[in-house]
Every structure is written in structure tokens, then in C-alpha cells.
């Protein structure tokens, strides 16, 4: 498998706060990978470590095959990576045109015709100062700067924040089509529905650790929510099985989320005298909530 991002036991500590802990993340080339997590889970810190903005406390990582802990190699990787940060703040003192020309000067593969087309599509006024742009327009400009090249990897941190619904739709379509152009997309988002729409694969980070790394097909096909009803208080350790991702007990009712082997769960439940009320596929929202809310 060809990975554009590969980290090994990547950790970052800020004082006493462990922002990222032993992260082993792998992002496959020519796919759209969604990076989910709660606020403060370590998403932005991970992205900053990948781009050399923040130095890892320990561990290592490869970005397009270049070591992220070696400044020279990381610089080489950045030539092929486009980044759109969560702040969406750009140089306020430049005009839109100045900023485009400034950014273009660093990339020999800059596509002026794409920049012109996006400028027109996003309705960005070239002569206006960046400080006079709305947040939505700044986001569009930031995306223009990222997309006007043909980067091997596009990293976006909360890309749809501040955009109107039409712009979100256009962006999602652009991102979904990027792998066909040879661009791998790795983006963090709080909007699970957006991730579910365009991502091929999902990584969920929780408290600095990678909790889920699955394709959306795997989630849809393999994960099931099993609702069980017991005539008395359910036994505590009934479902100590590796495939059980979470358990929530509410009185005599129990909800089990299983990644594989529904049969094993059902068999154990029936042995314990339970009635299987429902078995339904799990969607990404449920999986995310079950993962980060720690029901087990």
C-alpha cells in the first residue's frame, strides 16, 4: 500500500498536556481521508507536526516519503503539499492579486489558468485587500491558493467553516474529484455529514490517540448496533470481546456496537437470556459518538 502520510508513535507534549500520544496514522494515496475528533483531540497538532510547524516530542513520521523531523526533508515535502489552515487568516496587508502572485512564486507547478478560473468562480475581487474580505471569502481565497497547484497532497483543517451552503457544496465536489487529478485529500472536520459524503476513509482521533481507522465501506458493512433486552440487570462482563467497540446499558436494555462478529454477540446474549430487539447498521455519526464518548 502506498501511503502519503505515515506516522509511527508520534507524540507531542505541551508542558503537562499530552496533545498527541503514540499516533500511528496512515493515509493512503489517491483517497479522500477524513480526520475526525473532538475539540482538543489533537487533530490540528497532528497536522502541524506533519507540516513541520510543531516539533514532535517523540516518534517519527513520513510525509510523501520525507521525514517530518528532518527540516530539509520536510521542506522538500512541503513543495508537494498544499495546506489550508483552520484560521483561514491570510496576510491582511496584501490584495487578493498580490497574495496570489506571492504564493505562486514559490511553486513552479502553479497553474495560472486554474487560479484565474477559481478567482472567477469564487467571485474574489483581485484588487481588494485581504483584510476587507469576509471570512467566507478568505476561506475561498485560501482554497484557491491550495488548489491552483496540482499538489500531491492537500491538507485542510476545517475547510468548510465560514462557507455558505453553495460554497460548501462546490468545495465538497472539488475535494471529492481531487484524487482523480492525482491529489490525495486529508481533511479534518467537525461536520460528520460532510466527511461521510466525500471520504473514502475515516480516522478518528480521541484524546491524542488514533481510535478508528476504517474505510466508510468497512463501517457500513461490518459495524452493527445491537439492541438487547434483559429481564434482569445484564451481567457486566458478558461482552468482553475484541470486536465489541462500545456498550451502553440503560436499565435492562443494552446497546452493543460490534465491529465484526454479530453472531458471537447475539449467541452470548441469548445464552444470558436476552432478547435481541434490533440489529441495524451503524452510521459514521454513531460510530464517532460511540468512540469519543467512552460508553464501554
Amino acid at each position: 500500500m502506498d501511503y502519503v502520510i505515515e506516522t509511527r508513535d508520534l507524540s507531542k507534549q505541551f508542558g503537562t498536556v499530552q496533545a498527541v500520544t503514540g499516533l500511528n496514522l496512515r493515509v493512503t494515496r489517491n483517497q479522500v481521508t477524513g480526520f475526525l475528533g473532538r475539540n482538543g483531540a489533537g487533530k490540528s497538532t497532528t497536522i502541524k507536526m506533519l507540516l513541520g510547524m510543531t516539533h514532535p516530542t517523540s516518534g517519527s513520521g513520513l510525509l510523501l516519503g520525507h521525514s517530518i523531523t528532518d527540516p530539509k526533508q520536510d521542506l522538500e515535502a512541503r513543495r508537494q503539499v498544499a495546506y489550508c489552515g483552520e484560521d483561514k487568516q491570510l496576510y491582511a496587508y496584501m490584495t487578493v492579486k498580490q497574495l496570489i502572485n506571492f504564493t505562486a512564486s514559490f511553486y513552479p507547478d502553479w497553474r495560472s489558468e486554474v487560479a484565474a478560473s477559481l478567482l472567477d468562480q469564487f467571485q474574489l475581487p483581485p484588487g481588494r485587500k485581504v483584510k476587507a474580505l469576509s471570512k467566507g471569502m478568505r476561506t475561498k481565497l485560501s482554497l484557491l491558493l491550495a488548489l491552483a497547484r496540482r499538489p500531491a497532497l492537500l491538507i485542510l483543517d476545517e475547510p468548510t467553516e465560514g462557507l455558505d451552503p453553495v460554497a460548501i457544496e462546490e468545495l465538497l465536489q472539488t475535494l471529492a474529484g481531487s484524487p482523480a487529478d492525482g491529489t490525495t485529500v486529508f481533511f479534518s472536520s467537525h461536520q460528520i455529514s460532510e466527511v461521510e459524503r466525500i471520504a473514502d476513509r475515516v480516522c478518528i482521533i480521541d484524546r491524542g490517540k488514533l481510535a478508528v481507522d476504517l474505510s466508510l465501506d468497512e463501517i457500513r458493512q461490518d459495524h452493527r448496533r445491537i439492541t438487547l433486552s434483559f429481564c434482569r440487570q445484564p451481567p457486566e462482563h458478558l461482552f468482553d470481546l475484541p470486536e465489541v467497540r462500545s456498550i451502553e446499558t440503560n436499565g435492562s436494555q443494552m446497546i452493543v456496537v460490534s465491529s465484526h462478529g454479530v453472531d458471537a454477540v447475539v449467541e452470548r446474549a441469548k445464552t444470558a437470556g436476552a432478547v435481541v430487539v434490533d440489529i441495524v447498521p451503524v452510521n459514521l455519526r454513531e460510530l464517532f459518538l460511540w468512540t469519543v464518548q467512552d460508553h464501554k
Binding site: T54, L75, R79, G85, Q89, Y91, M94, F102
Partner: protein, 233 residues
């Protein structure tokens, strides 16, 4: 080249305001020399001494020091507070190049601010039936440049050490005032050169002293660069 352009855009408002202030005040000192002379010195001093006391050693030099301090402020820590550091650091350039571009731009601006009064004074003096030797004025321009670059470097370093909007400026001022007080202490002249005295020509200003100050300024900027490469943004 585009990094120099960025550094210029970031500092141009401060620089142009400084340029305006230096030019305007130089003009005031020359054109209104009869009125200003009573304020800055005794009436009976020569025109050359009045210019020295008012400009090269006096108020204008102090203003120049403040302006060079302001030129040193900025950089990646300031960008972080504005939220633009991500865009800058994602560019395929090393942090050393970012530092070099900002340092070089600041040094050039510092030199221009120093040369301006040194050029205006001899150029404008004939309009008020006075004269000031070009050679002497440009000598002060060179001394101001060397001293100004060191002050710029101190402010540059403070900007890397203190990321707050005002804390870097305050830290730079405290460093500079502390340095001035230290050099004024009895006996300290044997150990530390007072850069203010170098700038006005009353202290040692031979090639060795100027070279030592220049090396110290470059080392300070290098230290700022080294710290920058190790910081998290």
C-alpha cells in the same frame, strides 16, 4: 525575492512613517534653527554644534532609536497571533530564509532612516545661509547605521522571545534602557561600549568598535533565527 517583498509590505507603514518623521524633523531643525536653537542649546553655539546637539546627539537620535526598535518588531510570533503563521510556514522555504528576509529588510530600512538626516542637513543648510560639511554628516549617518542595526537586532530578538503584541516592544525598551544604565555606571566604559555615544561620535567609533558592534548585531539576529527554528507554531 518575494520574501523580501513580504517583509517590506509588513514593515512599510512603520518605515514610511519613520521616514516622514525623520525628514520633517530634520527640516524643522534646519529651517527653524533660530527658534529651535534656544530650546536645544545656548544661542551662542555654532550652527555645526547646534546640529550635533539637536540632531546627531539629541532628540532626533532618540527618535531614530525608537523607530529602529519599532522596525525590529514582528515576525512569526506576531504572525501566529494574527493567524497567518500557518500560511507562511506551509510555504516551501526554511525558517532561516524567513528570518534572513526580515532581517535584511530591517537592516536596509534602518540604514535609510540613518542616512536621511545625514543627507538632508547638508543639503538644506544653504537655504538658510548656513553650511554643514557633507563628510561629517555622512560620518554620523554611518555611525547611526551601525548603532541602529544593533538596536534593531535587539528588538528583533525580543520579538522572537516574547510573542505578545506589546510585550516584545516593552521587552526591547527594557533591554535597551537597562543597557544604557549599565554603560553609565562608573567604570563600565572600560568593559561595555555605549552605542548611543558611538552614534553621536563622543564614544569610541573606530573601525574595530564598529566591526564589533556589527558582529554583535549579526550574532543577535542569528540567535533570533536559531530560536525561531526550534519553536513550535
Amino acid at each position: 525575492m518575494m520574501l523580501l517583498y513580504k517583509a517590506w509590505l509588513e514593515s512599510r507603514a512603520r518605515f514610511l512613517l519613520g521616514l516622514l518623521a525623520m525628514a520633517g524633523l530634520s527640516g524643522v531643525f534646519v529651517f527653524f534653527n533660530h527658534d529651535v536653537r534656544t530650546v536645544v542649546t545656548d544661542h551662542d553655539v555654532s550652527y555645526a554644534e547646534y546640529i550635533w546637539r539637536g540632531i546627531f546627539k539629541g532628540q532626533l537620535r532618540d527618535i531614530y532609536v525608537v523607530l529602529t526598535l519599532l522596525l525590529g518588531l514582528g515576525g512569526l510570533d506576531r504572525e501566529r497571533s494574527y493567524g497567518t503563521a500557518g500560511h507562511t510556514l506551509a510555504l516551501p522555504v526554511s525558517r532561516w530564509r524567513l528570518i534572513a528576509a526580515r532581517g535584511l529588510t530591517g537592516i536596509i530600512e534602518t540604514a535609510i532612516l540613518a542616512i536621511l538626516p545625514a543627507s538632508l542637513v547638508p543639503a538644506l543648510s544653504p537655504f538658510v545661509q548656513e553650511s554643514y560639511p557633507w563628510r561629517l554628516a555622512l560620518q554620523f549617518g554611518a555611525l547611526w547605521t551601525v548603532g541602529g542595526i544593533l538596536i534593531f537586532a535587539i528588538s528583533f530578538l525580543a520579538s522572537v522571545l516574547f510573542s505578545g503584541e506589546y510585550s516584545a516592544a516593552i521587552a526591547a525598551i527594557i533591554l535597551l534602557v537597562g543597557y544604557s544604565i549599565t554603560t553609565d555606571l562608573p567604570g563600565m566604559e572600560h568593559y561595555i561600549v555605549d552605542v548611543h555615544d558611538v552614534m553621536n561620535g563622543s564614544g569610541p567609533h573606530g573601525p574595530t568598535t564598529l566591526a564589533a558592534i556589527s558582529i554583535m548585531a549579526v550574532a543577535t539576529i542569528w540567535l533570533a533565527g536559531y530560536i525561531t527554528t526550534r519553536k513550535d507554531y
